[in-house]
């Protein structure tokens, strides 16, 4: 019980005193995961919405495949990304391994199936009515896509939080690609792993409190969207 109370009291002290290392780690987590979410969304959402609007053969299988890819283990993605960015890998020339940029890209890879899958399902369920109406009125494919994107925007925004939550709580990818280097590539999740196993209970608890607070805040943020949009998003 002693370690418990000690851990929590040192944690509150660190948080209240704005310990620079602690907040640096939290800040980096936010930057990396924000970038990853934006990158994944920008690449996958337009494509997913477009595909969702059109019927094609094997649609059901495709849908199930995207669903399966959503739960890809983070360490597997981390390993794959590390191989891409290592000096001997295809992108070695950019010297990206052990940098926050690589972490953001790798995390984007990790959450892309999720971002794609959510948008795809949304588009299939709610996009088609709008697109059919637009097409009947003579809209081009591009115009239709833009119209549907605008219609689905609240629901797509809700999805952003889901994707971001997945990104910020994962540890496998950023550990392997970033290397958990102090002051450089250490984020909330990797720092908790290190501090906990080294016996720095106070620091670990402080990190954990910040991470849990962020996660709760994000889940609550989703509830600000109208229920109808959330249902379609889930």
């Amino acid at each position: 019980m002693d370690t418990f109370t000690q851990g929590f009291s040192s944690a509150f002290t660190l948080i209240a005193r704005f310990d620079p290392e602690l907040y640096g780690i939290a800040g980096l987590s936010l930057c990396v995961s924000c970038s990853a979410t934006i990158l994944a969304t920008a690449v996958t959402v337009p494509l997913a919405v477009f595909l969702g609007l059109h019927r094609f053969r094997g649609e059901e299988t495709f849908s199930r495949l995207t669903g399966a890819l959503m739960s890809i283990p983070s360490v597997a993605v981390g390993l794959f990304a590390a191989m891409l960015f290592s000096r001997r890998g295809p992108f070695g020339g950019f010297n990206l391994l052990y940098t926050p940029a690589a972490m953001a890209i790798a995390q984007a890879l990790l959450v892309s199936p999720l971002s794609f899958g959510l948008a795809y399902q949304l588009s299939r369920q709610r996009g088609r009515e709008n697109s059919e109406a637009a097409r009947t009125l003579g809209a081009s494919r591009l115009q239709t896509l833009r119209l549907v994107l605008r219609e689905l925007r609240p629901a797509l925004a809700a999805n952003l939080f889901i994707v971001f939550a997945r990104a910020i709580s994962e540890v496998g990818t950023v550990m392997i690609v970033g290397g958990n280097i102090r002051y450089q590539t250490r984020v909330l999740t990797t720092a908790i792993a290190t501090s906990a196993s080294m016996g720095d209970t106070g620091f670990a608890v402080a990190l954990g409190l910040i991470l849990v607070t962020l996660a709760l805040a994000l889940s609550s943020a989703v509830s600000f969207f109208p229920k109808r949009d959330r249902e379609a998003a889930g």
């Binding site: 924000c34 970038s35 934006i38 990158l39 000096r87 001997r88 940098t99 926050p100 940029a101 450089q184």
Partner: protein, 273 residues
């Protein structure tokens, strides 16, 4: 209004990692043991290097075996390891540029506070390991690190090997293994520096030390720049020259004296010309 705020936030998020990434040419990858990190030595020394040369150091602490492999593959610029046998193979293979002994300390055998290892074995590693093999649980690094290699040679020398249900192979770093050993009330081998740095957080005591076979020498090697175009040979040479310089060697010898009453590492680099 909101749109522009969102756009600004988006731009910031995308740019921030690039800002944090730092210019690649001004950094080196140092592949090293977990003991140099977990003992606090690198945190103590490195800021001086970066402020003097402007080169930032990416410390990838993976254990000597993995570090040597990174050197072999050209994934690191400079290595700091403590595995003499494999270091020799590395050097014989022409994989290094400059190399030098840099410091040494020793290993200690640790056990639970109420340990039953006979006191007679307090400086006899061979007998201690033999006793542990039949009587206790041993937690191993299991990661081809310098410490792991030393542990394996100790088993070999003792002529004994613990049964699988008494041998915990973790694949973790020194700090992690010490925490686990403390939790499990078992025995393990550690370098003295990491042990001293973590002693207060653990329920372990030294049960065997000062046996000559527990000598722990560290070597610094730059990676042969011919391996690939991304190796920062300049930065690596700067690091090498810095760590063997008499000023830094003196600093290494001072580490831990104030906090632990004894130095954690003894400097070893030949006096610079």
């Amino acid at each position: 209004m909101i749109r522009s705020a969102v756009a600004a936030a988006v731009a910031l998020c995308i740019l921030a990692p690039a800002i944090f990434a730092g210019a690649p040419a001004k950094s080196i990858i140092l592949a090293t043991t977990t003991s140099t990190r977990d003992s606090g030595l690198l945190d103590y020394l490195l800021p001086d290097f970066t402020s003097n040369t402007g080169v930032s150091v990416k410390v990838v602490a993976v254990g000597s075996g993995a570090a040597l492999k990174m050197g072999l593959d050209g994934d690191a610029d400079v290595l700091l390891t403590h595995d003499p046998a494999n270091e020799k193979l590395f050097l014989d293979g022409g994989n290094a540029g400059a190399n030098s002994p840099v410091m040494h300390n020793d290993f200690v055998l640790l056990g639970p506070k109420d340990y039953r290892l006979p006191a007679a074995y307090a400086s006899n590693a061979k007998a201690a390991f033999a006793w542990i093999a039949s009587n206790a649980v041993f937690v191993s690094r299991g990661d081809k690190s310098g410490t792991h290699m030393k542990e394996l040679s100790a088993w070999k020398a003792s002529g004994a090997q613990p049964a699988s249900n008494r041998y915990v192979s973790t694949g973790r770093g020194m700090g992690d293994v010490l925490s686990m050993t403390s939790e499990m009330k078992a025995y393990t081998l550690s370098d003295r520096a990491t042990w001293l740095n973590m002693e207060k957080k653990l329920d372990l005591v030294v049960v065997c030390e000062n046996d000559p076979s527990l000598f722990n020498p560290y070597r610094v090697m730059t990676v042969n720049p011919k391996k690939n175009a991304q190796i920062n040979a300049e930065g690596a040479k700067l690091f090498f020259d810095w760590i063997v310089s008499s000023a830094v060697q003196k600093k290494i010898g001072e580490y831990g004296v104030k906090e632990f009453g004894r130095k954690l590492f003894t400097p070893d680099a030949p006096v610079s010309k």
